[in-house]
């Protein structure tokens, strides 16, 4: 009985597994193609970018690029659909933008941070996000910087701790609210559980909270709409979904949380074709596919008449265990619904197909 019902749920199918000879930190689909990139660190301490193409049931290595420093993260978010330049952050704090057809010299390069760039995000490219293309980087040096590829050397915005304050590692950054040319927010998560929402239009802190455990990954459900939902994952297997449509003056945003498993949740990624479905990847090598359901009323008035949000509920659609090592990176294909790639610390990259997403 439950088995039959089980078949109606989305299934996560393992399509290709590729063993790598290096540690992969990030994997990304190349937009408008069946190619994917793996970014990581080779044993001898150099950075590697490998470009694979999906051919039937195997991955063909098209190109391998080696760089002096190990690469931690990358994004296509700020590039146009034609150029498809890759922006990367490396272990040394350098932000580089590469043209993969001519990767010897970066198109843009800056030593943005003093320490490793943990996380990077881009907006305004690929037809996603109104306004200028921008890149945000979050680093262990505690700062979050926003860059415009047209401006060399200095960031267009910089969020850093004050002198004398202890710096907290910034583990994750995400853009959101980019629905017109002026509006944009950056959300940053830190190792002490802080989540800060910085409004780039007014250059001010719009909201902050603390979820008690280090924040491993934050993502808005869609970057280019009036901010709707934000998912923040943390250590100890918990993640929170915030309803960002209604901000209460003191209580901030309403949220619902869920405990997925006992280990760290490394990444959260929303399905590009449906903002209410997202996948989390865990330290125990598992992937969980979730669906968010909205409450009947998304906001209500509190005793003083201010609007406050009402969070909905989360249900688990499917879960699979792929490995014994953490799955540190995850990316949905923007072009094929249900196709995703994940990279794990067992030096394997896997291409998965999630079925039946249309029926949800």
């Amino acid at each position: 009985m439950s088995a039959a019902a089980g078949l109606e749920r989305p299934q996560v199918v393992s399509h290709v597994q590729q063993a790598l000879s290096y540690t992969v930190f990030d994997c990304k689909w190349v937009p408008r193609s069946a190619r994917l990139l793996c970014l990581g660190s080779a044993a001898r301490g150099t950075g590697l970018v490998q470009l694979y193409e999906l051919h039937g049931a195997r991955l063909e290595l098209l190109r391998e690029i080696e760089k002096p420093k190990p690469i931690k993260c990358g994004t296509f978010g700020a590039t146009s659909l034609q150029q498809r330049y890759l922006a990367t952050g490396d272990f040394d704090g350098n932000l580089n933008i590469w043209n993969l057809e001519a990767p010897e010299i970066p198109v843009y390069s800056v030593k943005g941070h003093k320490e490793i760039i943990n996380s990077i995000d881009g907006v305004g490219g690929l037809g996603i996000g109104e306004g200028a293309p921008e890149i945000v980087t979050g680093s262990r040096d505690g700062t979050v910087k926003v860059w415009d590829p047209r401006q060399n050397d200095t960031p267009v915005a910089n969020m850093e701790p004050v002198q004398g304050e202890s710096k907290r590692d910034c583990w994750t950054v995400a853009f959101g609210n980019a629905y017109n040319q002026e509006e944009r927010v950056v959300c940053a998560g830190y190792d002490n559980g802080d989540i800060k929402l910085f409004d780039l239009k007014t250059m001010s802190l719009r909201w902050e909270t603390n979820i008690k455990n280090g924040v491993c990954s934050v993502e808005f459900d869609r970057k280019d709409i009036n901010m709707n939902k934000l998912v923040a994952t943390s250590l100890e297997g918990k993640f929170h979904v915030f309803d960002m449509r209604t901000q209460h003056p003191t209580k901030g945003f309403a949220s619902v949380s869920e405990k997925a498993q006992k280990s760290t949740i490394w990444q959260v990624r929303h399905l590009p074709q449906n903002r209410d479905i997202f996948m989390t990847s865990g330290g125990s090598g598992s992937l969980h596919l979730w669906k968010y359901e909205y409450p009947a009323q998304r906001s209500k008035k509190d005793s003083e008449g201010s609007e406050m949000g009402v969070a909905g509920s989360i249900s688990l659609l499917q879960n699979v265990t792929l490995s014994t090592q953490p799955i540190s990176s995850l990316d949905w294909s923007p072009d094929k619904k249900g196709l995703c790639v994940c990279g794990a610390f067992d030096q394997t990259v896997r291409v998965l197909i999630v079925t039946k997403l249309n029926k949800i």
Binding site: S2, R32, S80, G127, T154, A157, E183, L205, I225, S315
Partner: protein
């Protein structure tokens, strides 16, 4: 191990963890038990194997929990990814061929795009908005760095360092005193006024593929907004999609969103546009019939409904709407006709937006539920139906279909 466990089982022993009486590890007890938490504990004990290995009992316990609370966390099991053996031959074939089809398409696309390149790109670059400077909307200048430092508005923390000096209590009290903080502006603006979204998208320099991608994305955003009841937002996104590539499907969806907003004129226009592109489009005819009905152009509505029925004689919604209109025409039509009530029923019967991806089902069901089901998206907020029933008895509202199956 067997010998040591016997004394436990013989007497009124309890399990080591949770101290559950052994007599509870029993089929009859599990079947009758309604306390999910207790069952979860029993399940954990059974799974751990510390009282012995009882696979059938474990399964029975899982079934019971699923029966009571399908969302229970205890039901989550680790399992490997699915492979071909988990599917029927046809399903696997379908999955594979879909993927292969997409791969071939991508290959071809790629080859084409190699050829068209960079000229269009420079056009786009010039159209980009200026580089951000720390305060808003100022005349451009090349010297962004200096401006960043010099420009300072009172009380706006301009960089992170100021955040740590940010005193929440003080700020809250400032807000109470009607502080001019952009913080509060930012908050209020998101609440009281709708976000200013551009209705047109600048598509200079975009290839056809890019345009399709963007138009589809805007349509998806519109569908998502529709699903959560943000009809104005939905209309905006549909408008944006149309500004890139006008398609019948998007006009259709836009018409439905406008019907929800009771924007009859625009809805009519959009239905007409669909019918220009695709004469005989059933959904457009149904929707136009609804609009006509609300504008009291009953003859036109009847005509549209008859058109639908000539193509789909079994269309139950069309039949119902036809009946309603005929009854309205027959009976008195007081001006104060509780349009609300009539509207409400008609809205419930309208087919939902075309998502092209089967998303529609949910929306439709949630219409009929009127938002009672916790798992459905909230229904539209039409004006509350006025209390007195109209003289011609309205047809009973369609029986709600069974709620969508809860995720197992």
């Amino acid at each position: 191990m067997g010998d040591e466990s016997v004394p436990y089982l013989l007497g009124e022993g309890t399990t080591k963890t949770y101290q559950i009486p052994i007599s509870h590890l029993d089929y009859k007890f599990i079947e009758k038990c309604t306390d999910v938490k207790h069952l979860e504990k029993i399940l954990r004990v059974l799974r751990s194997g510390e009282e012995g290995c009882y696979p059938e009992l474990t399964l029975a316990c899982e079934k019971r929990i699923e029966c009571l609370d399908p969302r229970s966390r205890a039901l989550r099991k680790e399992k490997p990814a699915a492979t071909a053996s988990d599917f029927t031959a046809e399903e696997w074939e379908a999955i594979n061929s879909e993927l292969m089809g997409w791969l071939t398409e991508m290959n071809e696309d790629d080859k084409k795009s190699q050829l068209l390149r960079t000229d269009t790109l420079n056009e786009r670059q010039d159209n980009l908005p200026p580089i951000r400077c720390s305060s808003s909307c100022l005349p451009t200048s090349q010297n962004k760095k200096l401006q960043n430092k010099q420009r300072s508005k009172k009380n706006i923390p301009r960089d992170y360092s100021e955040w740590d000096k940010f005193d929440v209590e003080k700020e809250c009290s400032k807000i109470d005193e009607d502080g001019e903080e952009s913080n509060s502006k930012a908050r209020f603006s998101s609440r009281t006024s709708l976000p200013m979204i551009e209705k047109k998208i600048d598509t200079t320099g975009m290839t056809k593929r890019e345009k399709i991608f963007i138009a589809t994305r805007e349509k998806e955003k519109g569908n998502e907004a529709f699903a959560t009841g943000d009809y104005l937002e939905a209309v905006t996104y549909y408008t944006r999609s149309i500004s890139v590539i006008p398609t019948a499907a998007v006009y259709n969806n836009k018409a439905l969103a406008e019907i929800k907003l009771q924007d009859w004129d625009n809805a009519l226009q959009d239905c007409e546009k669909v019918l220009d592109m695709e004469p005989g489009n059933i959904k457009a005819l149904m929707r136009r019939a609804t609009v006509h009905s609300h504008l009291q152009n009953y003859q036109a509505a009847i005509e549209d409904l008859n058109n639908v029925l000539s193509v789909e004689p079994e269309n139950s919604r069309a039949k119902k709407s036809l009946l309603e209109i005929e009854e309205k025409l027959k009976g008195l039509k007081p001006i104060s006709e509780p349009q609300g009530k009539g509207k409400k029923i008609l809205i419930e019967e309208i087919e939902d937006a075309e998502s092209g991806e089967g998303k529609g089902e949910d929306t439709e069901e949630c219409e009929r539920h009127g938002g009672d089901t916790t798992s459905a998206a909230p229904a539209a907020a039409p004006p509350p139906p006025p209390p007195p029933p109209p003289p011609p008895p309205p047809p009973p509202p369609p029986p709600p279909p069974p709620p969508p199956p809860p995720p197992p």
